[in-house]
């Protein structure tokens, strides 16, 4: 790492400007981590209800087909009963991440990054189910949080990050490549620092730190590969960072596929075309729900 990058990393390690992990989130995750027979629905409802705005957002999200709901639910309790605890956790975590976005990030529209994260989380979960990945719930969380490093950049280096995004947009290159040019570090390094600061589990920390650099992952490589592929698919399908990356990708030749096939052999005959076409429905609904939550009328 260059000297400039080291200075930057020290600056990032402060992270004073960035909000800490949302208040409701940590106890909720801890509570839902215990065996299901010990979990009380009312307790979960109470935890989420501590934050009225979060509760309202959760309810909107619970009524989206993204979470498989077709009948209107009008209270958190009925949402938990109808969707189950795991989906409610996914929803609560997703809405919590939204609260992390800075309200003003200069010329950068921060909502694009949440839209990408939510889309990636949904794609991770669906991809995990399709290839019989052991833990689709974990895949969702990992997809949702994988770009937390970008949110940290938005807080700590707003001007530098705006310049980075501009470079990526004008050159049509992946964002992490532009970050390396302008910042000397990528949102992966920053994400790892945030993950450690938040005491996220080792698998999530590895995903945040390695999703663009699979070879750097010493463990949890299958989860990292799954997130990396889902992330790439989102970016190639128009659910990226608000600009097209002008390149060609062959998923069957991506290193993540070779790695993941060992864990999930069904991936060998995976229908990438159909999965890509299915994303069209996600994109429309993700865009609708994100606008609804972030820009309420």
């Amino acid at each position: 790492m260059s000297q400039a990058s080291e200075v930057l990393v020290r600056k990032l390690e402060g992270l004073e400007k960035m909000p800490t992990i949302p208040v409701v989130l940590a106890p909720l995750l801890r509570y839902l981590d215990q065996p299901m027979e010990h979990v009380e629905i009312q307790q979960v409802v109470d935890l989420i209800s501590q934050d009225k705005s979060l509760a309202a957002q959760c309810l909107h999200m619970a009524n989206s087909p993204l979470f498989g709901r077709w009948q209107t639910v009008d209270s958190l309790r009925s949402a938990v009963l109808a969707l189950g605890l795991q989906r409610m956790r996914d929803i609560a975590v997703s809405c919590s991440v939204l609260t992390l976005l800075p309200k003003d990030a200069g010329h950068v529209d921060p909502i694009v990054f949440w839209e990408h994260s939510l889309g990636c989380a949904l794609v991770c979960r669906q991809f995990a189910r399709k290839i019989n990945f052991p833990d689709p719930g974990k895949a969702y969380l990992a997809g949702l949080l994988h770009d937390i490093g970008i949110i940290a950049h938005l807080w700590i280096l707003p001007l530098e990050f705006a310049a980075t995004l501009e470079l990526a947009q004008s050159q049509h290159i992946p964002l992490h490549e532009a970050e390396l040019i302008t910042l000397g570090v990528t949102h992966c390094e920053t994400g790892r620092i945030v993950a450690e600061r938040w005491h996220l589990s080792p698998d999530l920390t590895t995903v945040l730190g390695c999703h663009h650099f699979l070879d750097r992952a010493a463990s949890h490589r299958d989860l990292v590969a799954l997130v990396s592929l889902s992330d790439l698919l989102c970016r190639m399908s128009g659910l990226g960072y608000g600009y097209p990356e002008e390149r060609q990708v062959s998923f069957t030749e991506e290193p993540g596929v070779a790695l993941l096939i060992k864990e999930c052999p069904t991936l060998e005959a995976f229908d990438w075309a159909r999965f890509t076409f299915e994303l069209e429905a996600y994109m429309e609904e993700v865009h609708r729900i994100v606008n609804l939550l972030y820009r309420p009328q």
Binding site: L59, T72, T252
Partner: protein, 303 residues
């Protein structure tokens, strides 16, 4: 404890309830048989198209209609009738903008790079199943726009073929009404068309780059002549063919494309399970197929 109860906002599809499982079965059947996929947000559209066919057949439920497509003697003809409904009204200028953008911004550059090794600076594009000509004329305009940019010093020709003689005659005439020209920007409208009483007439400059012919894609002798092609577009044509016919056409495409060649299919159209000769590639908001390089190995394994 009370919880906030904002009026949850829903998209129209959700208000109408979950899709019928038989509709999802029809979607999956259409994909399996024809290779064209209707994502969840298009299921209402599919339901509407099925509804039209159900009315014609006097069928009351989606479940019964699914049987018409699977076990009734009319199933093959009915599948074609449904596919006609699904693709109806698809033909227009600049029909699939993300695909055209990917072609212009990514694929064209890659083709030109690959061709740089060859002495002839000339591109051949084949619009296979060109219908009434909107697609090849769109390509002609797009490539003409690049003549002072990426294609400076190059020439190009577009071979446009269709089975239907009337479509080919319409295409050669080159006059179009409001529906076909609905996606045309004022820039293209002004630069490449002339307003006539019967509609917008494609200018000679655009026409000169396109040659139309009536060709059956299953006519091995005719298709074998379409050699040395850099790019093939074949949108919503293969969906009407059975697997064996598809494989035959794909084989021709494989043989006719140059090593670096690309094959573009229609929106949400796939070759999955039909051919291993081509490899799927992802472009920005579009997909395409390139020639796989393992044909020889595959054949050796078979032996």
């Amino acid at each position: 404890m009370s919880t906030p109860s904002p009026a949850p906002s829903r998209s129209p599809e959700i208000n109408a309830g979950p899709p019928s499982p038989h509709l999802v079965q029809i979607r999956d059947l259409v994909y399996r048989v024809a290779g064209i996929f209707q994502p969840d947000n298009k299921l209402r559209l599919l339901e509407d198209r099925c509804g039209r066919r159900m009315q014609v057949l006097g069928v009351a439920t989606v479940r019964e209609y699914y049987e018409c497509l699977t076990i009734k003697p009319i199933r093959q003809a009915e599948m074609i009738a449904l596919l006609n409904e699904i693709t109806i009204g698809e033909t227009c200028f600049f029909r699939n903008q993300p695909q055209l953008d990917a072609l212009r911004n990514v694929v064209l550059t890659r083709i030109l790079d690959a061709r740089a090794k060859l002495p002839l600076r000339h591109l051949r594009i084949w619009s296979a199943g060109c219908s009434t000509g909107e697609e090849p004329y769109t390509l002609s305009m797009m490539f003409l726009e690049e003549m002072s940019g990426k294609l400076k010093g190059w020439t190009f020709e577009i071979l446009a073929t269709d089975l239907n003689e009337r479509s080919v005659a319409h295409a050669k005439h080159g006059s179009y009404g409001d529906y076909s020209t609905r996606n045309l920007t004022p820039y293209f409208r002004q630069k490449y068309f002339t307003a006539r009483p019967d509609g917008l007439q494609v200018n000679a400059e655009v026409k000169a780059r396109v040659s139309f012919n009536r060709v059956n894609l299953l006519d091995d002798a005719r298709v074998a002549f379409m050699k040395g092609v850099d790019l093939i577009l074949c949108c919503n044509v293969l969906i009407y063919f059975d697997v064996l016919s598809k494989q035959r056409v794909i084989q021709h495409f494989y043989n006719n494309l140059l090593t670096h060649g690309y094959l573009f299919l229609g929106h949400s159209e796939s070759l999955y399970g039909v051919s291993e000769d081509f490899r799927l590639v992802h472009l920005p908001s579009a997909t395409a197929y390139i020639k796989a390089e393992k044909r020889q190995i595959t054949q050796q394994v078979k032996i």
